[in-house]
């Protein structure tokens, strides 16, 4: 790319309005060109002010905790001294294998409850870093787990293991906070295509599924879902279904993954 071509594209460049290949070419040129290309600074200096014209909107209160939890998880993945992995630490298993046939559907099975209790103990015991360590192979999931653990460790929160009622399909963990906010971290979800989404449902004592939000999943099969102010309360069942489009008001069976929120044992 020539200097004249860069000048021609400068306004688009500083506004982020170039096609990727042009943006790359301009960037490459600027990094090596002996010319000062003052037009980039002249035009670009004004761009930050565009943001000043925006009406201020506050983010949800839970976002800060999510970001800090994700950063904490990131910190754990950074290289450091060899003393961090003892090798003899207890292992917290993820639920794998086939659940009994009687648990088909959304009813919680005994082992799910037991594992949820184990998870809660882990959370309370401060072993969350250990759990994260075991999941380090998938950083996105790792961050989701950290966000779940952050919520699960708050007073009055409950935790749930989500598992495929039919076997060893999609699985994950979730936390339900006392204020009704829900965080779910999932992996091994088949990717969605087109308008397809996964819908998260809260099923309370009345057995009526209430949709709390949807999300798409990419090829990595990982999803981290959050919803604020849901009707979720103690002992609620969380379930995921795959829906042809967002906005489902009744679940399309089968249940992809489900679990029951339980309190840590006292």
């Amino acid at each position: 790319m020539t200097c004249d071509e860069v000048r021609d594209l400068a306004a688009g460049f500083v506004l982020g309005a170039l096609a990727p290949e042009d943006e790359r070419a301009v960037r490459d040129h600027l990094e090596t060109c002996p010319e000062s290309h003052s037009e980039i600074a002249e035009l670009g200096g004004v761009v930050p002010y565009l943001a000043e014209s925006i009406e201020p909107v506050e983010p949800a209160a839970g976002l800060k905790a999510r970001i800090l939890a994700a950063a904490a998880a990131d910190l754990e993945t950074r290289p450091r001294g060899a003393s961090t992995e003892s090798g003899s630490a207890p292992v917290v298993p993820f639920p794998v294998g086939r659940a009994p046939a009687s648990t088909r559907g959304i009813a919680p099975s005994g082992w799910v409850l037991r594992i949820a209790a184990v998870l809660a103990v882990v959370v309370l015991g401060g072993w969350n870093l250990l759990l994260q360590g075991q999941l380090r192979d998938a950083q996105a999931y790792d961050e989701g787990v950290a966000a779940v653990l952050e919520v699960a460790s708050r007073p009055g929160s409950q935790a749930a293991i989500l598992a495929d009622p039919d076997g060893d399909g999609p699985r994950g963990i979730a936390a339900v906070a006392a204020d009704g906010s829900v965080v779910i971290a999932m992996r091994d979800l088949p990717a969605t295509a087109g308008t397809e989404v996964y819908e998260a449902w809260v099923i309370g004592g009345d057995g009526v599924p209430v949709p709390i939000g949807d999300f798409a999943v990419g090829a990595d099969g990982v999803a981290v879902f959050t919803a604020d102010a849901t009707p979720a309360s103690a002992g609620v069942t969380l379930a995921l279904t795959r829906e042809p489009a967002p906005g489902a008001t009744a679940p399309t069976l089968p249940i992809v993954s489900a679990g029951v929120a339980t309190s840590p044992p006292s």
């Binding site: 506004l15 096609a19 790359r24 980039i40 761009v47 983010p59 976002l63 950063a71």
Partner: protein, 200 residues
């Protein structure tokens, strides 16, 4: 990043930016409470940008989370003399927001984004620190002085995430005209804002 205030050549460093740099130093050394400080300071602006561009609260939160994590991981790559920490951070937010919007348009190829915007995109905003906080009204007033077509071209790019070619297609305008509207619009905006700064 430990330069004393005011020693960066060609650029005046405000007290606020000096404080931001100290926060960034702490972030670079892995201090979570520093990230919390940065978030508390810029969450509203970051989220406002993301929400304005994506028009979706969930997506905007994801963008903001992504941007602050980008800052968390790349604080050490912040380059002295290339604009304030605020500009650096908010340009990350802007780029991530644009990426998110383009991802929803399946025909658009996404650029290969680095974790942080390249130095060449973090341009020096020479009077940003001097001016302090230009009132929102002043920026809006400056935008209002642009011709409708200049403002449209700039807003479709900055807030809409459209490329120059896409803007030309959408508005039925020759590409060269779109380029020149953007350029003249930005120059006019610069003139207006410089005047606004001189007459507080």
């Amino acid at each position: 990043m430990s330069d004393p205030i005011g020693t960066v050549p060609g650029r005046v460093v405000s007290a606020a930016d000096a404080a931001d740099r100290a926060v960034l130093d702490r972030i670079a050394s892995g201090q979570l409470d520093a990230l919390e400080d940065l978030y508390d300071r810029y969450r509203t602006m970051a989220y406002s940008i993301a929400y304005r561009i994506t028009g979706d609260a969930t997506l905007a939160e994801d963008v903001v989370q992504d941007a602050f994590l980008g800052a968390w991981r790349n604080a050490a790559r912040y380059i002295e003399g290339r604009g304030s920490v605020k500009t650096w951070l908010l340009s990350i937010v802007h780029h991530r927001s644009i990426d998110a919007v383009r991802r929803r348009r399946p025909t658009t190829e996404l650029p290969e984004r680095e974790e942080a915007p390249p130095a060449t995109l973090t341009v020096p905003d020479v009077w940003a620190e001097v001016a302090g906080n230009l009132a929102r009204d002043a920026v809006r007033a400056a935008l209002a002085t642009l011709s409708d077509v200049q403002r449209e071209a700039i807003e479709l790019a900055y807030f809409g995430g459209l490329t120059q070619v896409e803007i030309a297609d959408r508005t039925g305008t020759p590409l060269g005209t779109v380029k020149s509207r953007m350029r003249l619009g930005l120059l006019a905006l610069r003139r207006e804002l410089t005047c606004a700064e001189g007459t507080p």
